[in-house]
């Protein structure tokens, strides 16, 4: 049984008792406990169930590498699955539940899988579940899914917050053990800016547990003195509970700081993601102990020797009263010594090495511990926990020489340096034959922007491990039968055994990546921290090749899993993305705006009045505008000033039509194509003076087009004297639209807005009321229309002044949908509706806007390619349903027959379709094969429900074809 020792425990505070629950049972632990140590103290050895066979599992490690003891912790919006009991620091009120079992941890129906384990070897699922075909989706897969998975899915939105920090340093030290602190001290002494990250809540790493003496001082004392000195240095930042999660290119490192996991609080973020740019990274990440592969090594009570030592020294918890130590190196002897010193029984040390230093043997014999040399565990006895071990010779096939009763086994297969951070960004490893480990190859470090190595490694992480003469022992005993190899676990969580890896090799999955993927070795939540080296050694042996020839799988970030919340940071909910608001945004919100996201802007789709549907609102806005007066917030339209002696020449390249010959005081509609010939934007250009133009773009286009202009000016025509400025946000713009537009504006007084003073497609500066304005006489609705811009700061006041002055005319604000319908009634194209990135001006009958006078403009050369000049390209027409209904959006017109691939032949498609309240019928525009030559023909548009809509090809201009209404 596991239990709390009466004294000791360097990390716990026996005066501070904490209450927690495990599977609903109330338990008590001490401050400084982890969930794992607190459970062990209560003899709760069984902590989880394995992934595949649902075998009973106890805690095996004491740190982040723990594969078994994963818990659901927390409740509601603070619930999180898959938390390692070994790193979950106990707090008062913690609610923990074990995972992956039904109905209970002690009795799990899924454990039936273990009974059939023999029929479920590596990759069995690739070989079966083939028939009947539909059973995979409906029977087999649901059963497998239900049985797989680990923790429960969180149900509620996250109640916690997260944040990101940016930090810069000359030297980043990852790992706050002795080696890391020394590296930090040295760097700080050199005057470097240093950041030190330690994943645990305490400093010093393993050294204090192992009773090390550092520079003449006991480790604990050395650590505290060194920390004090570092803390006193302004150039040094120390963060505990902060793991170096990943190393990325050019010295970018992620730190993952757990702020409240050990002490829940509402007013601070739960996790903090550090985004660090480091000149140099020192990894002092220590090493991980490897299990040994013997039959039954997964039973609760079998633990890593270092973990057993940790629990005894740090938490005063003994995993058992009688502990057998099994090892292939000297380090595990420390565990035996710690146990004996704590008054616990160690009946034997089973050492697989053919010979062991006599001094060591006699030292332990003096302590009453028998050392069995050249020995192995043939089998662990017990059903749900260890009751004893059967011993055999390591070089045998497993015939048992003796059995020893015990309730715990401490195993050590040697140590593997933690090389993850070294490897994330391409650092290479070398196999150290003597120490049986992969260690960083100093000649092949990860390289940074200058091509130099930017990571170095110190301490145990660099292979400087104090484990004596290790003997590489990959299975125990050496000649174990297949039946026994079938009971030796490599990957505890995923239930991958020695026999599975051997099967993979036998079936040709020879690459380490194949073997990993075929067996799932190393794919569990510990990402192979315990299993990888043992697994690939078994693979190498099966392939009769060397371990370095097999190599490792790729180390990918993060070192241990980090929360999605921390990755996302602060940007969630309303501030998930920036929200752009026009100066009138708040007014719209107050006045019933039904919003539509357009890029990062929100524009009113329509303004709903109480009791009104969205459709009703749109129709009312249109009718009101066409018969009297409407107001549109057009502030989101791009406004880019282009200025300079070569501005005209530049705009002639940018637009398909001429802009250089536009007269000051005039406006012209222009099209822009990409260099690939496709329409990318349109808008009205006004010439302000001799060398200044103002280009309006679409709402979505403003930033893109401005960047596009700069691209050409900086990278192609850099000797042209042109300057651009994006003024979109500096000005509010309001379209005053409708037959009463002029009359209403004249009531405000100010500039002359008559047709003579300001004709259609002209612009002028002046005053309206008290406002300094620029007025453009342009129309996207077909009505008399003034687009008026004022400084952004006056936008709201101007809008309100217009609303007030418009009241006698029944003025209505209108939204984007009314805008769209009105432009469609007029047959104006809309970028994004009639165009989709595959449409050229010729498709839309806009040939008039393609200047014949200019030698060159962007997109011109592209238009002469064979497919763009093809007469069978679909062309723009109007479409009128035969029955007056509205054509379905996106519908295609069909011709008889099918193409070679069995698809219906299509001859056209709807690009825009609306109900027109003005005409009281459906109107549409579309692109149709030979469309303009087929006026009057009726096309069939199948609906998705199988019925067909019929529409006649007509002119796209449905309303006021002569343009009488806008030009008054």
């Amino acid at each position: 049984m596991s239990f709390r020792l009466p004294s000791g425990g360097r990390l716990i505070d026996r005066t501070s008792e904490l209450k927690f629950t495990f599977n609903g049972r109330i338990m008590r632990g001490f401050a400084g406990d982890t969930l794992a140590s607190a459970l062990l103290a209560r003899d709760q050895m069984l902590m989880g169930r394995s992934f595949k066979y649902h075998r009973p599992r106890g805690v095996v490690a004491s740190g982040a590498e723990e594969p078994n003891a994963l818990m659901n912790i927390g409740e509601g919006g603070r619930f999180e699955p898959n938390q390692r009991a070994t790193t979950a620091e106990l707090f008062d009120g913690m609610a923990a539940r074990s995972q992956n079992h039904w109905p209970s941890l002690e009795f799990d129906v899924g454990a039936i899988n273990a009974k059939f384990a023999r029929f479920l070897p590596a990759g069995f699922y690739y070989k079966t579940f083939l028939y009947p075909r539909h059973f995979w989706k409906y029977v087999f897969e649901p059963i497998i899914r239900q049985s797989a998975g680990l923790g429960a899915a969180p149900k509620e939105a996250d109640a916690d917050t997260y944040e990101h920090f940016y930090a810069f340093c000359d030297v980043l030290v990852v790992g706050g053990g002795i080696a890391g602190l020394m590296a930090a001290r040295d760097a700080a002494a050199d005057g470097k800016r240093v950041i030190v990250l330690e994943q645990n809540g305490h400093w010093g790493g393993r050294a204090p547990v192992d009773g090390a003496v550092v520079e003449g001082k006991p480790a604990d004392e050395w650590v505290s003195v060194t920390l004090q000195a570092l803390e006193a240095n302004d150039n040094v930042t120390l963060r505990d509970r902060c793991m170096g999660a990943g190393v990325y290119d050019h010295g970018y490192v992620l730190g993952y700081e757990r702020i409240t996991d050990h002490a829940p609080a509402n007013d601070v973020p739960r996790h903090r993601l550090w985004r660090i740019r480091a000149g140099h990274v020192v990894t002092a990440t220590g090493a991980l102990e490897r299990p040994l592969s013997f039959a039954g090594n997964d039973l609760p009570g079998v633990m890593l020797a270092s973990a057993v030592r940790d629990y005894v020294v740090n938490h005063a918890v003994a995993p058992g009263k009688r502990t057998v130590v099994v090892t292939n190196n000297d380090d595990a002897y420390r565990t035996a010594e710690v146990m004996v010193n704590a008054g616990l029984s160690v009946p034997a040390i089973i050492d697989a090495r053919p010979s062991v230093d006599e001094a060591l043997i006699s030292k332990f014999s003096d302590l009453g511990v028998e050392v069995k040399v050249a020995s192995a565990i043939a089998k662990v006895k017990g059903k749900d926990r260890v009751t004893g071990v059967a011993i055999c010779a390591q070089d045998s096939n497993g015939s048992v020489s003796t059995t020893i009763e015990c309730d715990a086994v401490a195993m050590s297969g040697g140590w593997s340096p933690v090389v993850h951070l070294w490897s994330h960004c391409g650092g290479k490893l070398t196999w150290d034959e003597d120490q049986a480990m992969f260690r960083p190859d100093p000649n092949r470090p990860p390289t940074n922007q200058t091509g130099e190595g930017f990571v170095s490694v110190v301490g145990w992480a660099n292979g400087e491990i104090d484990q004596g003469d290790i003997a590489p022992v990959w299975i125990m005993p050496q000649g174990a039968s297949i039946e026994t190899r079938n009971k030796m676990w490599l990957d505890f969580q995923n239930d991958v055994k020695v026999s599975d890896v051997q099967l993979a090799a036998q079936e040709g999955f020879e690459s380490v990546e194949h073997a990993k993927r075929y067996t799932t070795l190393g794919m569990a939540t510990d990402q192979g921290k315990l299993s990888n080296i043992n697994g690939l050694a078994v693979l190498a042996d099966a392939l009769d090749t060397g371990i370095p020839q097999v190599g490792t799988t790729t180390f990918r970030p993060p070192y241990t899993p980090i929360s999605m919340g921390a990755i996302a940071g602060e940007a969630r909910g309303e501030i998930f993305q920036p929200l752009r608001r026009t100066p009138m945004h708040a007014w719209h919100e107050k006045n019933g705006a039904h919003w539509e996201p357009v890029g990062h802007w929100r524009r009113p789709y329509c303004f709903q009045q109480p009791g009104e549907s969205v459709e009703d609102a749109v129709n009312r806005e249109i009718t009101n505008t066409r018969t009297s007066l409407g107001l549109l917030d057009a502030s989101t339209l791009g406004k880019i000033v282009v200025k300079g002696p070569d501005a005209g020449k530049f705009l002639d390249m940018l637009y398909t039509n001429m802009m250089s010959n536009l007269k000051p005081g005039k406006c012209r509609y222009g099209l822009m194509c990409s260099e690939n010939g496709f329409l990318m934007d349109d808008g009205v250009v006004a010439r302000i003076d001799e060398d200044t133009w103002l280009c309006h773009t679409t709402t979505g286009g403003a930033d893109r087009i401005h960047a596009w202009m700069e691209d050409w000016l900086q990278c192609e025509w850099w000797d042209w004297k042109v300057w651009t400025l994006n003024l979109t946000e500096q000005f509010a713009q309001v379209a005053v639209v409708g037959p009463n537009a002029r009359t209403m504006l004249e009531t405000l007084g100010g500039m002359d807005l008559s047709a003579q003073a300001l004709p259609f497609m002209g612009w002028a500066d002046g005053k309206i009321g008290d406002f300094n304005v620029r007025v453009y006489r342009i129309s996207f609705s077909g009505e008399l229309s003034y687009e008026i811009s004022v400084p952004a700061s006056e936008g709201l006041a101007f809008w309100e002044a217009l609303m007030e002055a418009g009241e006698p005319f029944g003025i209505t604000p209108y939204g984007t949908e009314a805008l769209h319908v009105m432009r469609a009634e007029k047959g104006f194209i809309m970028i994004g509706d009639e165009t989709d990135g595959t449409v050229i001006p010729q498709d839309l009958g806009l040939n008039w806007a393609l200047s014949k006078k200019k030698e060159d403009f962007l997109g011109n050369r592209a238009h002469s390619r064979s497919h763009m000049a093809d007469p069978t390209r679909w062309k723009l027409v109007g479409l009128e349903t035969v029955d007056g209904s509205v054509l379905p959006d996106g519908a295609y017109a069909v011709a008889d027959g099918h193409n070679e691939n069995g698809q219906r032949n299509m001859i056209g498609r709807v690009t825009s379709t609306y109900y027109s309240p003005t005409l009281d019928r459906g109107i549409a525009m579309g692109l149709v094969l030979h469309g303009p030559d087929r006026m009057g023909e009726v096309l069939a548009f199948p609906r998705v429900d199988g019925t067909v809509a019929y529409a006649r090809i007509v002119s796209p201009v449905f309303y006021d074809p002569e343009g009488e209404k806008q030009n008054v």
């Binding site: 690739y126 998975g149 680990l150 969180p154 970018y252 391409g426 099967l503 075929y518 970030p557 919340g565």
Partner: protein, 414 residues
């Protein structure tokens, strides 16, 4: 080849499975083959498989620089769908999807095709219109898709927040027979079937040159020596430009990193695949229980299989917006692959300036779902010089200004 079945497993269990033979044979290259495929990824192996199965060409070698299935086949997010807008895309992806339906049985290898359904979320009016258009096109292309409203979206995927605040779900394009498959198994299953037909799959064999005579391909130089062939297929996503250079031509391709990540496994909570293009993220849950997450590509040429972390941040942030519960899951692993992106983001399956040499590349971020259709069409192109499935995907289209642009329906095409 020993057939796989439950009975075979039971039989082998008696002997602790020591009787299973190799899934694919290990052979040294011959001097000459009728056809050589460079690249033993999903597309290359499928091409070889259909050369044998549909066209009787079995004197074939598939040469692989590393380990088979080790490129993008083994590092994608395993989504299968065919709800594409443009005719040529819908044709080849639907061919692929329909072949996936019976692939496990055809290959006698469980590739775990799971037609659990794919939703493409619409979160702007623009997307609503784009997907309604796609739904119309799909109906005429023989692709079964359906426009569904937000309530149905919620019903299909209860963990989704359809109410915003920033991007409320306005509906979605639903393809009930889209889904996922086990990516490695697709490569392994094809490899096993190819090997069974007598084809040679040669791993650890790097092609270092392409030889030709009078404008016609004659073979390849490799790290294992020269190998002759009558026809050559280059199917090396991530290295297409490099190998094309050996064959003497250039491609309209840039190679960039695409990243993905998985969470730790949790119990089943999501039965469908969801793609949210407005916010650039997509997610499904693997049979193991991991949430499998992908996003957009990096924007610079890169051959390192590592991407920039801020794209991971953006993807996770976007998905938390729509799936708030994932905020409390942990990222287990992130990785990157190198994808070849063409000038119109659609693939190239084409003859090349070198006679007898064909290229299959440019699948960008969406290649896994196409594997069977791509192999089917490419094999036909190699065997007959023409395939209706690949006819529109010729590399001459860039010169002609004839593009197959899928981004028109909505954002990125994954």
């Amino acid at each position: 080849m020993k057939r796989y079945s439950a009975f075979a497993i039971a039989r082998e269990a008696a002997n602790y499975h020591q009787g299973w033979e190799r899934a694919w044979a290990k052979r040294a290259p011959k001097k000459r083959y009728d056809a050589i495929i460079i690249g033993a990824g999903g597309h290359g192996l499928a091409s070889a498989y259909y050369l044998g199965k549909n066209h009787g060409i079995t004197n074939v070698a598939v040469l692989e620089k590393g380990w088979l299935g080790g490129g993008n086949t083994g590092r994608n997010t395993t989504i299968i769908r065919s709800n594409y807008l443009q005719d040529p895309s819908a044709a080849i992806y639907e061919k692929a999807r329909s072949l996936y339906e019976t692939l496990s049985q055809d290959l006698n290898y469980n590739v775990m095709f799971s037609p659990r359904g794919v939703i493409m979320l619409a979160q702007t009016h623009h997307e609503v219109r784009g997907y309604q258009r796609t739904a119309h096109a799909n109906a005429l292309q023989g692709v079964k898709t359906e426009w569904i409203g937000p309530e149905r979206v919620k019903q299909l995927c209860p963990i989704m927040n359809i109410e915003g605040p920033r991007y409320p779900v306005l509906g979605g394009l639903w393809q009930a027979r889209g889904g996922t498959a086990r990516h490695d198994a697709v490569a392994w299953g094809y490899a096993r079937a190819c090997s069974d037909m007598g084809m040679d799959i040669i791993q650890q064999c790097e092609v270092t040159g392409v030889t030709s005579e009078g404008g016609k391909v004659t073979g390849v130089q490799t790290s294992l020596g020269d190998i002759g062939c009558n026809s050559l297929g280059i199917v090396v996503a991530g290295h297409s430009s490099h190998v094309a250079e050996m064959a003497g031509f250039r491609l309209p391709i840039e190679s960039v990193a695409l990243q993905a990540l998985v969470s730790e496994p949790i119990k089943p909570c999501m039965d469908v695949v969801v793609m949210a293009n407005t916010v650039h993220g997509y997610m499904s849950q693997s049979d193991k229980g991991e949430m499998v997450i992908g996003g957009g590509t990096d924007g610079y040429n890169n051959y390192t299989q590592r991407g920039s972390f801020h794209h991971i941040e953006e993807t996770v942030r976007a998905l938390i917006e729509t799936f708030p519960m994932i905020s409390r899951l942990k990222m287990l692993r992130q990785w990157g692959g190198i994808v070849d992106v063409t000038g119109d983001r659609s693939p190239i399956l084409s003859k090349t300036p070198l006679e007898g040499c064909y290229i299959n590349c440019g699948w960008g971020t969406g290649g896994f779902k196409a594997i069977p259709g791509s192999g089917f069409g490419f094999a036909e192109l190699m065997a007959k010089g023409y395939s209706p499935l690949t006819a529109e995907f010729g590399m001459e289209r860039f010169r002609e200004g004839r593009f197959i642009d899928e981004s028109v329906a909505a954002g990125v095409a994954h």
